[in-house]
């Protein structure tokens, strides 16, 4: 495992890691708000909303993400919805992670005491003011460890995009490994994943500390 060889393949691995990180970033940007809205809907008293969202969550959690990627990229064009590879990947990831986040948030919402809503109500706060200022900050703190878990999963799940032909970190390593008949690229891939997750774990810890009030 010469330094020379490592420096030769690293650029392509970093390129793959770049795609992994982009996918990661946009998925979070889309799926966290989606999960929040869906979780509010899951707790809604309006039954049809709840039913539709229940089916959505069931579909997303009930089928492999790999299958969902294939359906979005190869299946949706059959009914006239065509995505670029990259957009298809982000779309599928947002839908999938949105469902998981919704379930996590739903649990968090249910753990908020009814008294908090009543306290807000007699102070004349509106529904959205109550959600924004009272409920979300408390739910946020409760769900942070579970969300962190999903976030870390997302980094590794993003490797599934190889199935629609996108070149992420793992795929870059795979290509180098089969070309050079060497495990070194995959070893490096493992190290890069570990580093990314070490950084994420550190950030998540900091966020947890920042938002703890006990």
């Amino acid at each position: 495992m010469s330094i020379h060889y490592v420096s030769e393949i690293l650029p392509s691995l970093f390129q793959g890691a770049g795609l992994t990180l982009q996918l990661f970033f946009w998925t979070l940007i889309g799926s966290l708000p989606l999960g929040l809205i869906v979780s509010l809907g899951l707790n809604s008293k309006i039954k049809p909303i709840k039913w539709v969202l229940d089916i959505y969550v069931w579909l997303m959690r009930g089928t492999p993400l790999l299958l969902q990627l294939i359906f979005v990229f190869y299946g949706l064009p059959l009914i006239g919805v065509v995505f670029e590879r990259y957009d298809a990947a982000i779309f599928a990831f947002i839908l999938n992670y949105g469902a998981y986040f919704a379930e996590i948030f739903r649990g968090g919402l249910q753990s908020i005491d009814q008294g908090q809503y009543e306290g807000a109500k007699v102070l004349r706060l509106s529904y959205w003011q109550t959600i924004r200022k009272i409920v979300i900050p408390q739910v946020f703190r409760i769900v942070l460890p579970s969300v962190g878990n999903e976030v870390i999963n997302l980094v590794k799940d993003s490797s599934l995009v190889y199935v629609i032909g996108l070149g992420d970190l793992l795929r870059a390593g795979n290509i180098a490994t089969s070309r050079d008949v060497s495990l070194v690229p995959l070893l490096l891939v493992g190290v890069i994943y570990l580093l990314m997750i070490a950084v994420l774990t550190y950030i998540l810890r900091k966020v947890e500390q920042r938002y703890s009030y006990k």
Binding site: D113, V122, L123, L125
Partner: protein, 216 residues
């Protein structure tokens, strides 16, 4: 003056309040006393707009109002809950300032100086930056009181103000409520403690069994 006329409330087939009439006179204290399950908390919750009455009228100074309407920024009823319902993620200051800034649209500075004044009056001047879990029960109650007062309610309601506290704090609560009365606050106190009610109240409404709730 708060008047409640012919208030009816049932949950399913269980009649909780049947034709209840309540009057709280200005600057006075009305205590609603009765055993648990007699519907006194339900009565308070109807007045506070947390339950919707089946029928009945609510008048403040002779003008009808809807306790459950949340679209008004006019604050009629303030509530100090039995277990206070402070917001655990906010400091004492933020607990008090939240509604004045968000609902009454006061500036932060205005709300803050009012909050400081309230905390001073309640002997909590050094507690503003603490979180609720860092306070004792009695202190929490006073913060809940300050939070309600910051909205300048016309009537202040308490649900069992002595029950979540150490028995020897009862005197403190009495002083607190009577002190507010001196300042002209109109108050309604729900309690199961008749002795406590006798000390503080100008008028007592006994709710024994549901249908014979009558103001003496």
């Amino acid at each position: 003056m708060l008047e409640v006329k012919n208030l009816k409330k049932s949950f399913g087939s269980r009649v909780i309040l049947d034709d209840v009439n309540v009057t709280v006179k200005d600057h006075e204290i009305l205590s609603i006393v009765g055993p648990s399950g007699a519907g006194k908390t339900t009565l308070l919750r109807c007045i506070a707009g947390l339950e919707t009455a089946d029928s009945g009228e609510f008048l403040i100074d002779g003008v009808p109002f809807d306790p459950a309407a949340s679209d008004t920024s006019e604050s009629v009823i303030g509530v100090v809950f039995q277990d206070f319902n402070l917001f655990p993620h906010l400091t004492v200051f933020d607990n008090i300032m939240l509604a004045p800034t968000m609902v009454l649209k006061k500036t932060k500075d205005e709300a803050k100086s009012e909050a400081e004044q309230l905390l001073n009056d309640l002997g909590l001047n050094d507690k503003g930056d603490l979180y609720p879990h860092q306070l004792s029960g009695g202190q929490k109650q006073r913060v809940a009181l300050a939070r309600a007062l910051a909205m300048h309610p016309k009537i202040l309601c308490y649900d069992e103000p002595t029950s979540a506290l150490d028995p020897n704090l009862r005197r403190e609560v009495e002083k607190l409520i009577l002190g507010l009365k001196e300042e002209g606050m109109t108050q309604l106190v729900v309690t199961h403690d008749m002795d406590f009610a006798k000390v503080i109240a100008d008028d007592i409404l006994e709710v024994n069994s549901l249908d014979q709730a009558n103001q003496k």
